[in-house]
Amino acid sequence: MDIFLQQIINGLVQGSIYALVALGYTMVYGIMGLINFAHGEVVMIGTLVSITVVGLLIGAGMPAGLAGLCGLVVAVLVCMGLGWSLERVAYRPLRGAPRLTPLITAIGMSIVLQNLAMILWGRNYLTFPPLLPKVSFELAGTHFTLVQVAIVAISAATMGGLLLLIYRTKLGMAMRATAQNPAVASLMGINANRVIAAAFVIGSALGALAGVMVGSYYEIAHYQMGFMLGLKAFTAAVLGGIGNLAGAMLGGVLLGIIEALGAGYIGDLTGGFLGSHYQDIFAFVVLIGVLMFKPSGLFGEKAGDRA
């Protein structure tokens, strides 16, 4: 029972991060039907930029917490610019092209960004300086750290803010309208290019936040880290129903918990044959299962619903 609760908590932390990244996939897909496979790399760039900034500031004598905040701000701004440029340079010229073309371009951009990061930050693992004091709490037989609490709290607050933005502001209304019917949205005076750019910029900002969280949670980063994280977040978006915001949030948290429980029990279930380092297979079992049995995901809209 203790393991069970403990793994739920671990899964919630990891799942919050998946959810933030999954939102980036789902917002872009909802508005333009594109799976931006370079999104995982945007997250990775967010992590690496924050490592550099935090390292410099701590080296200059700034307290770790404040340096972390500055690192976060810089990473968010850099990733927003990166997301905006990706759309402008790689995807906008392909508007109206067959769907496969931008998809392949997205994979290409992902490779470009990985290599760019390798050139800038090298091939080695980088250590992420601890940003928060290593305090841990004990509750009902489970342990958790301050970093874990911060990740879940900040994710929840950010997602709440995103929902307010999408459901309570004019920009959000324009984004929802464009997702439902771009031609009629333009009749209302909504500039589709701006709405699409906004989806990329907002998604990338969430990705950067997730990147800083991953970095400070595992205290390690690498130019290839975006690949697996991106695939899992994409799985979370599909699980929730791609294009659906609440779906991405729930899908992320669920996937995190499934993975954590799987990792916690896989040893017992296979009599020690498979260990917890096989945890990655759960995400893909989930992906295959969703695609086979409910391709529209938990909250997915019918295919014909996208105008």
Binding site: M173, R176, Q180, N181, A183, V184, A185, L187, M188
Partner: protein, 234 residues
């Protein structure tokens, strides 16, 4: 107010609209009638810039708009109620109306206009918080017209407002269209129901296979033997 000269529209080599010329004066209701596939919808879409013109010119209040960006058309004062209504199904009724006022920033007047629309269509007020996709066809048409009016247009383009609706709904909707026109709105109306269109307009153009073949005062066309035979089922 609106002047279309020699407008050409082609879809993949097929000439949907062939060099048509017509105009709509300020405050006038003009009908464009014709059979299915005559090019009426394409003409409206070209004016609203949802499709590109292959040739010709469109001027609105003296300004050339044939190459304007689609999202700028409503800013110039033209609101299109598209064929099939095009309401946003997963926005509420109130949100659909508010997004009609997307280009406006005068919050107080937007609320006033919302009340005016609810006055025209009390049914919409009752369903204010319902998703538009759950409305009946007639209610969606009311919503689409209300949404277009929310931009405070100088000219309203209506694409088949009676399509697929029960007679009582058609009656209600045309009552509002006539009231809006009587209040001074310039209207370009496309209708397959030629009698309704001619009875609701001052002038009309008849389109056949992408060309305008006939035009004149609506009352005259109502009594024209060719129109009666081809479009009024007599």
């Amino acid at each position: 107010m609106l002047e279309v000269t020699g407008l050409h529209v082609a879809y993949g080599g097929i000439q949907a609209v062939r060099s048509i010329t017509f105009h709509v004066n300020e405050g006038e209701t003009v009908a464009l009638i014709g059979a299915n596939g005559a090019g009426k919808t394409t003409t409206l879409k070209a004016i609203a810039r949802l499709v590109d013109a292959a040739g010709g010119d469109v001027h609105f209040r003296g300004e050339k708009i044939v190459h304007a960006a689609p999202h700028d058309i409503v800013r110039k004062g033209i609101a299109l109620v598209p064929e099939g209504r095009g309401v946003f199904p997963r926005l509420t009724v109130a949100e659909n109306l508010r997004i009609g006022a997307f280009i406006r920033n005068d919050a107080v007047d937007i609320e006033k206009d919302l009340e005016t629309i609810y006055g025209y269509f009390p049914r919409l007020r009752e369903r204010e918080d319902q998703l538009a996709g759950t409305l009946s066809g007639g209610e969606q048409q009311m919503l689409a017209i209300g949404r277009a009016l929310m931009s405070r247009p100088k000219m309203l383009l209506l694409d088949e407002p009676s399509m697929g609706l029960a007679p009582i709904m058609v009656h209600k909707i045309f009552e509002v269209i006539r009231a809006v026109a009587a209040a001074g709105m310039t209207v370009l109306l496309i209708e397959q129901n030629a009698r309704l269109a001619l009875e609701s307009s001052q002038r009309a153009y008849v389109m056949e296979s992408g060309e305008i073949t006939l035009n004149g005062a609506s009352t005259a066309l109502l009594h024209d033997p060719k129109v009666r035979a081809a479009y009024l089922g007599e």
